[in-house]
């Protein structure tokens, strides 16, 4: 084995094509980033698992729709009992389901989103840390910044890669199962009822993408070892949850409805999602058995506080990653 097969040198050929103005560079970077991340077996199996869960969600929706169709029959009662035993939701008055379908689905998706927060935690821990850290470790940044790539394009593209994965485990499966549910129940009526729900699902998913992506990006730009970044990410997500629990136990309930209730990122996202979904009002105004849904709702916190805290985190994280990348792009050639 030697460095060169032979001293065979082809003549250099010039290329007379045109370079575009780099309008689509970000897309190429996102595609490459997503493909690289999917090369990891763990990431692939997580994404597959989540697709399975989407199927599961569709089945639940299907059951609900079935209840609607079978209202009043013996079969309907049996299914209702099953649902009651399994989900703890009393749906015996299924004949009224069409009236509060939207609320029911909202509660359903709220539960799903709550579970999805855990998946987001995992997938971001798998995909996010390598984004910038790996380029730092392998000194790949000079490759980007010797080509007409700006730090802004770089940061945006890297952020979009995490965003794609967060979307893959949050609002994309949610939307899919919503569409399937709508198709099963059928009818324009259902469409009209659930259109705003679809929008809310996208909005809540995008907020997770924005916040989670920005934070992991900032962490990734701070170290060249992706394992440290993964640990830091888990710490940033999990420690405040414990902190919030301790605060809630120490302080009187009314004092944790403001800023002091906004320690945990996950809780903040859930608060904002609750507010987006308008769940609290919907429940309060309906005559549904409210105790069935208390699990789905958090302790009341002012949504404006939660949203402000999230926005502050995101902004700080994006500014930090951008500044780090600018710095690296300048010291790309070592002095």
């Amino acid at each position: 084995m030697t460095d060169a097969p032979a001293n065979r040198v082809h003549r250099y050929q010039r290329w007379d094509g045109e370079l575009n103005k780099n309008r689509w560079t970000w897309l190429a970077m996102v595609v490459a980033g997503v493909r690289l991340a999917l090369k990891d077996r763990k990431t692939r199996s997580l994404v597959t698992t989540i697709t399975m869960v989407v199927l599961g969600a569709c089945i639940v929706l299907y059951v609900l729709s079935l209840l609607e169709l079978l209202a009043g029959t013996e079969q309907g009662k049996a299914i209702a009992e099953f649902v009651h035993a399994f989900l703890g939701v009393d749906v015996s008055e299924v004949s009224r389901i069409a009236e509060f379908r939207e609320s029911l689905w909202r509660v359903f998706f709220l539960l799903i989103i709550k579970i999805e927060m855990f998946w987001v935690l995992l997938i971001v821990a798998l995909v996010g840390p390598r984004l910038i850290a790996s380029d730092l470790k392998h000194c790949a940044l000079p490759i980007y910044f010797a080509k007409p790539v700006t730090p802004l394009t770089y940061v945006t593209s890297k952020w979009l890669v995490v965003a794609v994965f967060i979307a893959l485990v949050t609002f994309i499966p949610n939307l899919l199962s919503l569409i399937v549910g709508v198709l099963i129940t059928g009818g324009l009526h259902t469409w009209a009822q659930t259109a705003s729900l679809g929008l809310d699902l996208v909005l809540s998913g995008l907020s997770v993408c924005l916040v989670g992506g920005a934070i992991v990006l900032a962490l990734s730009s701070l170290s060249s070892d992706h394992r440290y970044v993964a640990v830091a990410w888990l710490a940033v997500c999990l420690l405040p949850v414990f902190g919030q629990t301790i605060l809630n136990n120490l302080l009187p309930p009314e004092s944790t409805t403001g800023w002091l209730g906004c320690v945990s990122l996950r809780d903040n996202i859930m608060t904002v999602t609750d507010w987006l979904f308008g769940m609290r009002e919907a429940l309060e105004s309906s005559d549904l058995p409210a105790e069935a849904f208390t699990n789905a709702l958090l302790k009341p916190v002012k949504p404006i506080c939660a949203a402000t805290v999230l926005a502050a985190w995101t902004l700080a994280a994006l500014v930090l990653s951008y500044r780090r990348v600018v710095k690296f792009s300048q010291t790309a050639a070592n002095v």
Binding site: D3, Q13, G17, T25, H138, C139, P142, A146
Partner: protein, 304 residues
């Protein structure tokens, strides 16, 4: 190919470039200097990655402070470090850098194979780059720099860690690029490599340009100082040389350093050899090698 005017760069209290003024014509040019001479900083400034503290410069007649992106569309860079993206194959990597340069999907893929052929990465191009050895990585990095057909490439230590055959291949690629009309700025610690492929050199130290110019002018043969490799009766040769007014300065193991009585009087040496009945294994005009020029330039700088 590029020009700089009073270029200065300071990092806090460290000064990396001091008043660099240069006008370099297109061609294959070597950039020499000890560690910390400011070579990498100069390249970084010319690529528009680092902003100069003071001064102006232009690359391919484009201003570095205002036309950064246009410059980067027309230059390629082979960095010193590995700079690979783990998980990518050779082809994927070059394709990707083509996309970064602003090529379309189809152009980039086609051109990636073209430049991989050029650097002679055969089936290895379909394997992940992590398994490449030093020489393959260097050639891959060259392919990456050439993918968008630049008019100028910067090479930072491209032969580092390569075995003799790998170095030769790399050097012939660089010469060929020069012939194809692509300008090359080759930064290297290996003076023989620079001597072999470059027409001109820039010697830097301590952030300053010490000398720049054509290599053949720097290592012009000395008109009267020669070295003779001789096999035979050395005493007889010395006598014959003395008769012809050729003075022997040094002698060891059949190698004689001589000084001719005047220019174009090499004939005297041949006559002396013939008269002594020995064999003339070599007659070399003394020329200062690039290494001597380099060392002399560095020493001059230390003295001032």
């Amino acid at each position: 190919m590029f020009s700089c005017n009073n270029l200065c760069k300071r990092y806090g209290r460290v000064t990396a470039l001091v008043d660099v003024t240069l006008a370099v014509e297109p061609g294959v040019v070597g950039l020499l200097g000890p560690n910390g001479a400011g070579k990498s900083t100069l390249i970084s400034v010319l690529l528009g990655q680092t902003r100069a503290t003071v001064g102006k410069a232009s690359v391919l007649k484009l201003d570095i402070s205002r036309q950064q992106r246009s410059i980067r569309r027309r230059v390629g860079f082979v960095p010193e470090n590995d700079c690979l993206i783990p998980g990518m194959t050779g082809t994927g990597y070059v394709y990707y850098t083509g996309r970064l340069a602003g090529m379309s999907h189809a152009d980039s893929m086609q051109r990636a194979h073209e430049v991989l052929d050029y650097v002679a990465l055969e089936e290895a191009r379909y394997r992940p780059t992590e398994g490449y050895y030093a020489g393959m990585k260097q050639r891959l990095k060259l392919a990456q720099a050439l993918v968008h057909d630049p008019d100028l490439i910067f090479l930072d230590e491209p032969t580092n860690g390569m075995d003799p055959q790998g170095r030769q291949t790399m050097l012939s690629l660089i010469s060929d690029l020069g012939n194809a009309g692509i300008s090359v700025l080759l930064s290297s610690h290996l003076l023989p490599d620079v001597q072999r492929v470059c027409e001109r050199v820039i010697i830097m130290a301590g952030g300053q340009v010490l000398t720049s110019g054509r290599i053949d002018e720097m290592s012009k043969p000395h008109p009267t100082l020669y070295t003779v490799d001789f096999a035979g009766d050395v005493a007889a040769l010395r006598q014959q040389l003395a008769e012809r007014k050729v003075s022997v300065l040094e002698h060891s193991n059949g190698r004689l350093s001589i000084e001719l009585p005047g220019e174009n009087s090499q004939t005297a040496v041949l006559e002396a050899v013939r008269a002594s009945g020995g064999k003339l294994h070599g007659l070399h005009p003394r020329r200062s090698s690039l290494e001597e020029t380099f060392m002399a330039a560095i020493q001059r700088q230390h003295q001032t």
